[in-house]
Symmetry: C2
Subunit: 458 residues, 2 copies
């Protein structure tokens, strides 16, 4: 542990009092996400309550060259929170005020620590919702920082499309606002999109202005079974190519269904499965359902099972959201290793086939699941973090999967972000454009205090 500068310790007694911690357990909890990545603990944790406090902490850290890592809900998957050079973890979970909602303009402004479930609970009575849903009950600041998406992205887009503006604390402590409330603007560089997905390496997001949507008049969900993953993927691709505006279209392979049944105490049929959700007017949903049913049948799918009651639907999606935990729970004391790639839809079949070949001899439990409507899928492994041979084995499979995805025009991560886990692939994917990313990083954070060791190589 590095000694923290005196000014930070003084801060403790003055402004932050009971919101400053150097307790080991607290620091450990803040030095990891939900995945297998090794914990690297920060030197201290401070719970900030306002943008101005974040600014003050960052300014003190900047003056003393102390690294700063923003912490939201702790649900990231690629090592984003590991304090590889120590420093201060700024916990934003107490910044949980919903500051403004406009039903007229279908937008809102929330503090970074507000979680997506908190926001949606708040919105429900107004007939509104925020669709981006990465599964975990992540903070909206964290979701913006990692450019998260999830099950609804095929219809509603990702955080890239749904963040209208940000309040940011820059590495100097300066507070700026980006974007605005207009639906579109050509006024200057798109700083909002630059910070969405920058993973805390350029500044800290303290407030987010988001697009909202009216809760659809009709919502309908269904599961259907296929004899192979290939058939399920073929059906999904045709749905995308015909432009049918499904809200969700999720692939779960039979291994995953088994894990979900056991973890969530369900009795889903143990087959390769597509789960759909349809949003729209009654007639619109009916039309979507008929088109999808025809495509499913053409591809050998069967047994459409409906979950139209809200409680059935919620149970289904909750089980899907718990897929990560379901896989991990198959093995005692295991940690999850979740990797995601995203490819052009025309390459999805080949890519998943290749991944299944890679998984064929894998010695640890693993499952494929994915937001196949976007060409995005995940592999979750349940690993023993102390078993180096096992970690090497999974790393090799991951590497082969990622490199294959890049080779067919895809990306090393569709929605989890780079963190520490995908840095090795950044140059393979983006070539010399990485130098431009580094130049921007150096211009904005010349001393490199913002979440060091993440996103960029070297």
């Amino acid at each position: 542990m590095t000694a923290l500068p005196a000014s930070l310790s003084q801060t403790r007694s003055a402004r932050f009092l009971d919101r400053y911690s150097i307790a080991q357990a607290m620091r450990e909890q803040h030095g990891r996400g939900e995945s297998h990545h090794t914990t690297a603990i920060p030197d201290a944790v401070i719970f900030a309550e306002t943008t101005e406090e974040v600014s003050e902490i960052v300014r003190l850290c900047a003056e003393n060259g102390v690294p700063v890592i923003a912490f939201g809900a702790g649900t990231s998957l690629e090592g984003h929170l590991t304090a590889v050079r120590g420093g201060v973890s700024i916990d934003l979970s107490r910044m949980s005020n919903i500051k403004r909602i406009s039903a007229e303009d279908l937008d809102c402004t929330v503090e970074a620590g507000v979680t997506r479930e908190q926001l949606n609970t708040h919105l429900r009575d107004m007939g509104l919702f925020f669709p981006i849903d990465p599964g975990a009950n992540a903070s909206l600041g964290g979701m913006a920082a990692t450019r998260a998406s999830g099950t609804n992205a095929v219809r509603y887009g990702t955080m890239r499309e749904n963040v209208l503006g940000l309040t940011l604390v820059l590495p100097t402590g300066q507070i700026i606002r980006t974007g605005g409330r207009a639906r579109k603007s050509s006024a200057g560089y798109d700083l909002t999109r630059l910070f969405v997905g920058s993973e805390g390496t350029l500044g800290i997001i303290t407030e987010v202005t988001l697009r909202l949507y009216g809760i659809p008049e009709t919502i309908s969900a269904a599961l259907c079974s296929f004899q192979s993953v290939e058939q399920a993927v073929a059906a999904a691709i045709q749905v995308v190519q015909l432009g049918i505006p499904v809200a969700r279209m999720e692939l779960m392979d039979r291994g995953l269904i088994q894990a979900i049944n056991s973890y969530s105490n369900m009795t889903l049929k143990i087959e390769d499965t597509l789960a759909f959700e349809f949003h729209g007017s009654p007639a619109g949903v009916q039309e979507q359902v008929e088109m999808v049913a025809a495509l499913v049948e053409e591809n050998g799918g069967r047994d459409f099972e409906w979950a139209n009651a809200p409680e059935d639907r919620n149970r289904l999606w909750k089980a899907r959201h718990n897929a990560f935990y379901a896989v991990v729970s198959q093995r005692e004391n295991a940690k999850g290793w979740s990797s995601d790639v995203c490819v052009p839809v025309s390459q999805l079949s080949g890519c998943i086939l290749r991944t299944r070949e890679l998984l064929a001899g894998c010695s640890v439990p693993a499952a494929i699941l994915g937001h196949v409507g976007d060409g995005n899928y995940h592999v979750v492994f349940a690993v023993d973090p102390a078993n180096h041979a096992e970690l090497d084995e999974v790393a090799a499979i991951n590497k082969a999967m990622v490199r294959y995805a890049i080779s067919v025009g895809g990306t090393s991560t569709g929605e989890h972000g780079v963190g520490t886990g995908k840095i090795a692939y950044l140059r393979e994917e983006h070539g010399d454009a990485v130098d431009l990313m580094v130049a921007i990083k150096n211009a904005i954070d010349p001393t490199g205090i913002m979440n060091p060791g993440k996103v960029l190589p070297g």
Copy 2:
């Protein structure tokens, strides 16, 4: 005129031969867009045919500190093309190859000089289209550079949402590729979005990868009349707030209708008018039409006139697209001054009302038109560019309109860009975030050769 470095002149005889011009007329044509802004002519015009040629020219210019201005179709409206410090205009119009279309993945890659009409003509037989439509037959590189949008944005988004990746020539001459073909990615900083809307000040876009869409099964268009602009706007706002997925919803005030009738030889009813286009399945369009008709009627609208035959629809939208020229043609030897703002939809009525008050005493022909579904509208003035009193009068109206839009949470430009015309408002809109834009500009283009005098103040 600055003397061009010898190396550039040598280039002329060597590589570019008949594609290098210092003729006055050619230079004048490249030193202006379509609007009132004063022409400032470049020292030379070079027609580039490949990304590598652009790179070579930029490298020569960089070595000699010569400004570089990219030129597409010359349809920009805020002085983007004026060579305020001289230099070389790189004309990209010969880079007009459509390099790749994937019907399966609904995407394509085109060279920067391909125009939107060229692309859509090419796509038609494949049942595909690219929806972004700013009116003018702009180049797709230029549309990306200015973050253009237009009539279809309410449903399909803007260039921000529809550019998947770019090939760029940086100020050093280095060629990089950003983004990719996956529908979403969390792999690193969003350089694509940083360059979309950067107006040639960070680099030159030479290729664009775009999202495509299937041509809707049913397309239907309609006009309806209102007794006041306020009524028309009220109806439009309700359509947005109910989330009805209209493809186009355009406001044209009665003055504009008069100008259009005269310019395009049409007989539209001279009333404040909303023009709609609906896309979808037959049932989906029917449903949208019924909902919109009810809202129109509730707000005092009447006389729905349909234009369902493709030729009628094309005539209608062509007339709408010619609105700018229609207003300008009302006066001999006039130039057009087109300003646009965009505000949260809840502020649109008040904003347009305020604009109409400002226009009440205006001494030159003027009309209001707008993509009201986005909260975006334009005022077009027909000015005598030699009459300074008149220019001052219009400048004052423009200033008051823009400042009002910013004061209610809007933006100084929804889709035209900053160019030279909106620089004065950038800090009012974005505050200290402008300093961050300047820092990024300085990091990427430290010698300031890329389209100097645009976007950023100072």
